[in-house]
Subunit: 339 residues, 2 copies
């Protein structure tokens, strides 16, 4: 029997077994299923999930132009040099419809196509029913269960969902580049919250050491407390709860590999030091976020049931016409789902 | 009685009445309540919702550096010149914790502080329990019900949630700037899908007209169909369903105001021509997205109930330890919510 035959459960068993054995086509097919939320992928993931605990999930995020893909390529080279296997999920902001531009670094990564110790997957960042965090967490679990020592999750850190994806890793690396403009600085502020390690990349540019020094000054606990006290907005994200926030700040030049071994050492150290504390907190946070997404997804699936379609259509029409407010409409839908 | 006294229902009535009468402090307080998902804000929004239908909601999005804030400032000036009132919700990627950098254009907009026909609000893009789209839709409804002729929703179009916010407007304007780099090009591809009007800003730069011509070539229906046929990824976003996609492509120089009157004409034309078709589809899509977010939010609220806390903690622990898979865990939680 091949993976295309049989019931979803049978196909899932075939795919999970093949993926665990290192079959790259099975792995690719399973990841497509994860992206499309198929029943087969769900069943395969359920079978694989217990094997997914050993891998180290590293989130890599930062503003456009900071050099994320180049750094990922450099980390792959460093990990392979140390004999470790690595899978990459690159959350690509380009659209599945218009195709999007291929990034130069993706091409560079394709040099690993013949290396069984490397697996690279691009994932569109839009159109995921259960949210990007649920989909990417599932993809990371599949790759971890397939035996990769490291799973790198690369996202552009300029959107809410994208930052959350990178933040839900065992270790979150936030990239900066020296001399970025005003708007990018504003983006940066939101990113730094989730950083376990901050990397100033393009270290060969003037201003790199100065940017690193500024970040160190900015990320001292006293400065952070002052800002938190003066904030009049909503409460900060509860992801990691109260814990000391002293991200390491490193300088790399990913294009030449300068500083990359030290970065990998810091990533490993972060996990080792945190394995009973920080990592456990991160994994609980990731599990909780994934569960929330799945609970929402399964609730929405019930609304998509043909039995509810007439009510859903009517309620949506009334809200669109402003004859029913959205809160009353949501309560009416929930009452119909759970009479 | 002031807005600070009484039950949530009484406070909501006071706030809704004051906001409808144009009281800016009440409006600001109501928007803070919307951001923090308070019961008072929900009740006030329910009261205001029937009045929210008349306003024209315009989403404005694009990559960092395209000049969104400058264009918003220019549109405010143009609208005021035509005697229309306008509210702006700027979804700001900076964090509430670290404060974030103030953008120069925000300062420029503050010149409208004494103009009752203009209201500007920044909203953090992270930490919204029900998702950014639910929160910003609620904020837009509050502003629309308070009598503003136009509500402009400005987001950085580089994240899934942020693009969805701008896309769920009556009219969605996507900004581009000439001569952007590779990574920004990739982002652009995802943005163009949601555009009703594409604006090449910074029209005084070399290459602006060429960029506009390229976009016109790219957005011809035949080219779009070719791309859709060759895509092997997940299905395209169902937001607007099948409909002709011929966005107008305009060139502006927001900093000088060049092209801004023509842009506003195009925005008005888009709504007028689409009021029984495109706008209705957009409003249905927005209502459906908001309902999905609220249904999820209310389901999560049940999980946060102390009665379920022991089970939630246990299930999250098991998923984090990889002894229970997330799908089985989600089913267990849903069964507990709805026995």
């Amino acid at each position: 029997m091949t993976a295309a035959d049989g019931t979803p459960a049978e196909r899932a068993h075939v795919l999970a077994t093949a993926a665990r054995a290192g079959d790259r086509r099975a792995l690719a097919r399973l990841l497509t299923g994860v992206e499309n939320h198929t029943r087969t992928a769900e069943l395969a993931l359920r079978a694989l999930y217990p094997d997914a605990a050993a891998s180290h999930l590293v989130g890599i995020t930062g503003p456009p132009g900071a050099g994320k893909s180049t750094l990922v390529a450099a980390l792959i080279a460093e990990l392979r040099g140390r004999g470790r296997t690595v899978a990459v999920v690159a959350v690509d902001p380009s659209s599945p419809i218009t195709g999007g531009a291929l990034l130069g670094d993706r091409v560079r990564m394709q040099s690993y196509a013949a290396d069984d110790g490397v697996f690279i997957r691009s994932m569109a960042s839009r159109g995921h029913a259960g949210g990007l965090s649920s989909t990417s967490a599932a993809a990371a679990s599949v790759l971890a269960a397939s035996g990769f020592d490291y799973v790198l999750l690369e996202t552009v850190g300029t959107g809410q969902s994208e930052v959350e994806v990178a933040a839900a890793a065992d270790t979150t690396v936030v990239l900066e580049a020296p001399e970025m403009g005003d708007e990018v600085q504003a983006i940066k502020a939101g990113l730094l919250e989730v950083a376990d390690i901050v990397v100033v990349n393009k270290g060969d540019r003037p201003g790199a050491q100065r940017t690193a020094a500024q970040l160190r000054a900015m990320l001292t606990p006293s400065a952070a407390e002052t800002h938190a006290d003066s904030a009049d907005g909503p409460a900060p994200s509860p992801r990691r709860g109260p814990q000391p926030r002293h991200p390491e700040i490193l300088v790399t030049t990913a294009a030449t590999g300068d500083g990359v071994p030290a970065l990998l050492d810091a990533v490993i150290r972060h996990r080792e030091e945190g394995v009973d504390g920080v990592t456990r907190v991160a994994r609980r946070g990731r599990a909780a976020a994934q569960l929330r997404a799945l609970v929402a997804e399964r609730t929405w699936a019930r609304l998509d049931d043909p039995a509810h379609q007439a009510l859903v259509d009517q309620v949506v029409d009334e809200v669109a016409a402003h004859t029913l407010d959205p809160y009353a409409a949501a309560d009416r839908l929930l009452a119909a789902l759970h009479p």
